[in-house]
Amino acid sequence: MADLRLKDIAKAYGEVEVLSNINLDIKKGELIVFVGPSGCGKSTLLRMIAGLERITGGDLHIDGMRVNDMPPAQRGIAMVFQSYALYPHMTVRENMAFALKLAGKSKQETEQAVNKAADMLQLGPYLDRLPKALSGGQRQRVAIGRSIVRDPKVYLFDEPLSNLDAALRVATRIEIAQLKESMPDSTMIYVTHDQVEAMTLASRIVVLAGGGISQVGTPLELYQKPHNEFVAQFIGSPAMNLLPGEIVETGETTLVRLSDGGQARAAIPTREADKGMQVNLGVRPEDVIVTEGDEFLYRGKVEITEALGELTVLYFEKKGEAPPFLGKLPGVHAQLRGSPVKLRAEPENLHLFHEGTSLLYR
């Protein structure tokens, strides 16, 4: 239940700089999700906040207090690990009570807190079992319960669901969402690989890449107005298509002539001076529309169709080095395989990037 402020946070292992210039303000009650490619430093950043990893540059404030050199236990944080990290020799009850016992809380107080958390997570029947007698989902609930019991200011989750199977992951994700709702004042930071988790849970998403923050914003902001090509392609699945082209008409909206013949009008304002600028036009697979007309942004032969029932993914023939163009159409379209198709998109669904950065954020 606290504000967090990360100022110029950096982490280096000897010569190797893993993170640098991390600036982030997290408000009380937010659920912040860190996403990013593997190895970009999500866990490292989370562990620095927890105090398990030394901060090698910058300041970390929790509730206005600088905590860089404060041991983990005094920072008022609790952490849930991917591998659960339950104490294997203690029962569920003892696992949850451990922190309170160490803190010298009375027996009665401890028991109350444990029972309350157990009720919240439906762990009542398992309180006297050892962790090895629990399923993966139950173990993760115990791990969450162990952090709730401590009533921390900040909850930290490092990929808590990635050891669970698909169905359980959805169920536990919803449980975490409900948990957050029942504790509106608690601040949570959540690391994940899973886009759906990020989009559904986050009040704001932090995209980490290349040792720094690529963009911070609400899930829809990131989806609709990505700051750069990396975020544009990272958020959304399958990834956004990028087509090289040149600006030919500027003004309230912008007309782009694409290198392989098509053209498109994007609802993005540009200045007179931008005419002739080399840009990448971004279009999400789910935003393309099949057209018979003369105005199209992409034309190609469908090589593979993946029918998923409610929608069909089209893989177009590769042109040159670039990855193949993808389209996603509602309904079943198996007959499109092997045939030439022309596509267009609504102007407001298009994105323009110059040298990797969106023209919206100049």
Binding site: A50, L52, A73, A85, Y87, P88, F98
Partner: protein, 326 residues
């Protein structure tokens, strides 16, 4: 024949004998006893496969029977006879033992050894394993602590004879006493009761390395996250060690402890070479050695007493070790 040739011949006969045995016995099983031919081919294959494990087990069972089971039975039988081995005297040897004060001292001392040595070795081994874990020169320290393991018990006793020597110019202990208090030298191995502990210390010194190596591996096997979770939960280093780490390697600690206990009941060398069992330091193994070749009936009776003491520890050790593997 020269010893080298003898050795080579033994190895060749042993290895090819093994190969020949397995090859021939399997052929007999598959071709002669249960051939995979004719109307009963399927049943024969099944039967052959049921018999096959026993073919492989037979040499081991035979050797164990010959060299373990038979000697145990034989020893017990021998312990019922007198010194010359001619006259059957029933439990006479055992009754004599109980009535002999030296034997009672040996039993008492042996229980002291069983209590102190495994506890000391395991404690120091665990401490060494934990303390050297994060050090850059930890591996050097570990090698040094492990080194006594490579010395024979007799060799170690000789080294410690110097340490305990009744002379301030040779003995470390007396040198320290003289330097600190200006005290006259004394023979620590003649101090009643406490001399036992000076002897035990030698075995602890040897066995600490063993305990350290095994426990160090066990400590490394503890998931790092459980330790981090405990740190976040507010545990200080001592609490992490005693409440998170030690309970997680309890099984290994028990195995190390019992293994050393069993060893304690076998080691006669230290007492034999240091005091010869005098000054009230006798223990069962060296007591047994004293009777060996003089009165085999008495010696085998002592051996049996030792076995009876070891057996429960051994069973527990095996049960724990098997639980560890699961």
């Amino acid at each position: 024949m020269s010893p080298v040739l003898q050795g080579a011949a033994t190895i060749l006969i042993g290895v090819f004998g093994c190969i020949g045995y397995f090859y021939a016995s399997n052929i007999i099983l598959d071709r002669v006893l249960f051939p995979a031919r004719g109307p009963k081919a399927g049943r024969n294959i099944n039967r052959a496969n049921q018999v096959r494990p026993w073919l492989f087990l037979f040499p081991a069972i035979f050797a164990l029977g010959l060299y373990l089971v038979y000697p145990v039975v034989g020893s017990f039988y021998r312990s019922l006879f007198d010194r010359a081995g001619d006259d059957f005297i029933g439990l006479g040897n055992y009754i004599d033992l109980i009535n002999e004060p030296t034997f009672r001292t040996a039993v008492f001392n042996n229980f002291l050894w069983i209590l102190v040595v495994p506890a000391g070795s395991t404690f120091f081994g665990l401490a060494a394993a934990q303390l050297t874990d994060r050090l850059r020169w930890g591996n050097i320290a570990k090698s040094l602590i492990f080194m006594p393991m490579a010395i024979s018990f007799v060799g170690a006793s000789l080294i410690w004879k110097f340490v305990y020597a009744n002379n301030a110019d040779i003995g470390l202990i007396n040198a320290a006493r003289e330097a600190l208090f200006g005290a006259e030298p004394l023979d620590v191995l003649q101090i009643p009761f406490w001399n036992n502990f000076f002897l035990m210390f030698i075995l602890i010194w040897i066995q600490t390395g063993f305990a350290m190596v095994i426990l160090s591996a066990a400590l490394r096997g503890i998931p790092e996250e459980t330790i981090e979770a405990a740190i976040i939960d507010g545990a200080n280093p001592f609490q992490v060690f005693f409440r998170i780490k030690v309970p997680q390697i309890m099984g290994t600690i028990v195995v190390v402890w019992t293994t050393i206990t069993i060893l304690v009941l076998k080691v006669f060398d230290i007492v034999y070479t240091m005091t010869g069992g005098n000054f009230g330091t006798q223990i069962l193994p060296s007591y047994m050695m004293g009777y060996m070749f003089r009165d085999n009936g008495r010696a085998t009776a002592v051996a049996f007493v030792i076995m009876v003491i070891v057996l429960p520890v051994m069973v527990w050790n095996i049960v724990q070790a098997r639980r560890e593997q699961r």
